[in-house]
Amino acid sequence: MSTLKDKLIDSTLKPKASRNSFGDHVAELGGTHPEIVVLDADLSKSTQTQHFAKKFPERFFNMGIAEANMISTAAGLAMSGYIPFAASFAAFITGRYDQIRMSVAASKANVRLVGTHAGVGIGEDGHSQMGLEDLTLMRSLPNMTVFQPGDDWDTKAFIDWSMKHDGPIYMRLTRQNLPNLKRSEGYLKAGLRPGVWSILNEEDLDSADVALLLTGGAVEPGIEAASILASKGIKPVVINANWIKPLDETLVNRLNDGRLKLIATVEDHFSVGGLGGAVAEVLTQRGASKPLERIGVTAFGQSGTPEANYEHYGFTGAKIAERILRRLG
């Protein structure tokens, strides 16, 4: 019997980490976009900017382990008409908050900040390397667009969209592989639009009992949770919540006005201020008529295999489903 997971995930395609999707795609675009420049801070083999560096050495700047200088230098490159992608681990790049606030966001510099190695999903390297607060930080800045792709298609589509956008951007990418999502023909035809999430089982939108808003590394365990809920007779609608800013406020309000009993957000990020926080802001603006279960990380992470970490921090289908069932009562 085919499960909901089989329906939503395309298992014919190889899972791919969004950092790899980014690295491959920006290297591809380099040929047709002479205005792209890439900066890295001695992590090009991890962030995957190495491919662009190899193809376009004259447009690649390895700034050494000096992220503050990298970010403001990227802003300067943007001010002379280039489109810089500045990459490092999410923890290290958004850790240089004042440089992002001042040189990039307040300056409206056309910079793409790329934070890879998001969340506890990175595994063994442990807490110092885990970006867990980056969405909260980036989301708070005026002028900033914040995006967390759900898979390879999302990553490429967003980078393509960004080439026509003028303004600061933060992209949050994973170290670990992400499965490929199935998208409806209608969605694919419309393409990626700012502030519009993709509803993976659109036909269930208005009849669902619970809405699962999933982002980044949490998409796969969230879909597994949805399968479990479906097998227990609870109908989920599953949403790839890739736009963090602008958020899909229209959809959040529609969920709030609909018949469902619970909205749940799932993110490999602190549960304060990220996707869950953003959704809570929208819900309370008009008056929340639905409870919100914010599933995220509440403490600094630790070493362990990615699988062990996802088990420990509650990002498995069973654990997410259990929390939702408990909340539904």
């Binding site: 420049v37 700047f61 700034m63 000096a66 200088n69 403001s72 300067g76 440089q99």
Partner: protein, 315 residues
């Protein structure tokens, strides 16, 4: 209406520099807040750069803006123009004065410094006034932005998008040199051989809490910069000829050693009672003090008139 006119002389002449100092003090007095000390120390540095060492990229039919609200904006300038990044953003009244002197906007606008919605913000803001090449004021970042602009302009030059290699000037404060990011930039620029980047340190020896050498000494500064593999020139930052000489030595090349000019200056330079390492860092002159300062600049010969007309008639 403004009763103020800029001298019809080179921007680095003695009379012009006095007028720049008067304009700095008048605008800060009008605003009731601002940073006179670190603005006054910049006057010779800016006027030496603008007198013959700066390609403005102005349109051929350029007419100086002396009246009304009209001003030159970024879109009016050519892409291969030289750039100034004022990393020590609190010194911006000096830059505003120089830009007005050069005809970018009428002097009367200076009376609106720091007013809500006005283009003359308290620190450089490229989204309020796009002649500000970078938004600065959070110290330590402007050097890196300037490095990025220098890299971008070189890339544009080498890929033949522009036919002239622009110079990028970055004006750093001495207190600002205590920021770690400044040294990240000093380490990076020689690696990338940005021979079109010129950093000028306004070494006025004072910062908010006291003399620089007491708060966090920079010495031996010239040796440090040489050790970071920069071309280093050390000059009296109030000697226009010495500054111009140092600027002339900064040979601009697409691939070459970046240049640092250490300009020894005095905080509050030009007004006897303001020449102090800390006292006039962030204090606006009162009306009487402004009049005393202008008298000291001009003697009895008030040749420029006043930006703050109403104010002058009161005294």
């Amino acid at each position: 209406m403004s009763g103020f006119t800029w001298p019809k002389e080179n921007i680095s002449s003695e009379k012009s520099r006095k007028a720049l100092r008067q304009a700095i003090l008048e605008q800060i007095c009008a605003a009731g807040s601002g940073h006179p000390g670190g603005s006054l120390s910049l006057v010779e540095i800016l006027s030496s750069i603008f007198d013959g060492n700066f390609e403005h990229g102005l349109p051929k039919n350029f007419v100086p803006k002396t009246e009304g609200k009209s001003r030159i904006n970024r879109a009016d300038l050519s892409l291969d123009r030289d750039r100034i990044v004022l990393s020590k953003g609190h010194g911006v009244p000096a830059l505003y004065s120089a830009l007005s002197f050069l005809g970018y906007f009428p002097a009367a606008e200076l009376a609106h410094l720091r007013q809500l919605g006005h283009f003359l913000q308290g620190h450089p803001d490229r989204n309020h006034y796009d002649l500000m090449e970078a938004s600065t004021g959070s110290l330590g970042q402007g050097g890196s932005v300037a490095l990025g602009i220098a890299l971008g302009e070189r890339l544009a030059f080498e890929s033949k998008k522009i036919s002239r290699l622009p110079r990028v000037y970055c004006l750093l404060g001495d207190g600002e040199m205590q920021e770690g990011q400044v040294w990240e930039m000093f380490m990076a620029a020689p690696k990338f051989q940005t021979g079109n980047l010129i950093c000028v340190v306004d070494y006025n020896k004072g910062q908010i809490d006291g003399p620089v050498k007491e708060i966090m000494d920079l010495e031996p500064l010239a040796d440090k910069l040489r050790a970071f593999r920069w071309n280093v020139h050390e000059v009296d930052g109030h000697d226009v000829n010495a500054l111009k000489g140092a600027l002339a030595k900064c040979r601009i090349e697409a691939r070459g050693t970046p240049h640092a000019i250490i300009a020894h200056t005095l905080k509050g330079k030009g007004i006897s009672f303001m020449e102090h390492p800390t006292q006039w860092h962030g204090a606006a002159p009162k009306r009487e003090q402004l009049e005393d300062a202008i008298k000291e600049l001009d003697g009895t010969n008030n040749s420029c008139g006043r930006i703050l007309g109403a104010l002058a008639s009161k005294t």
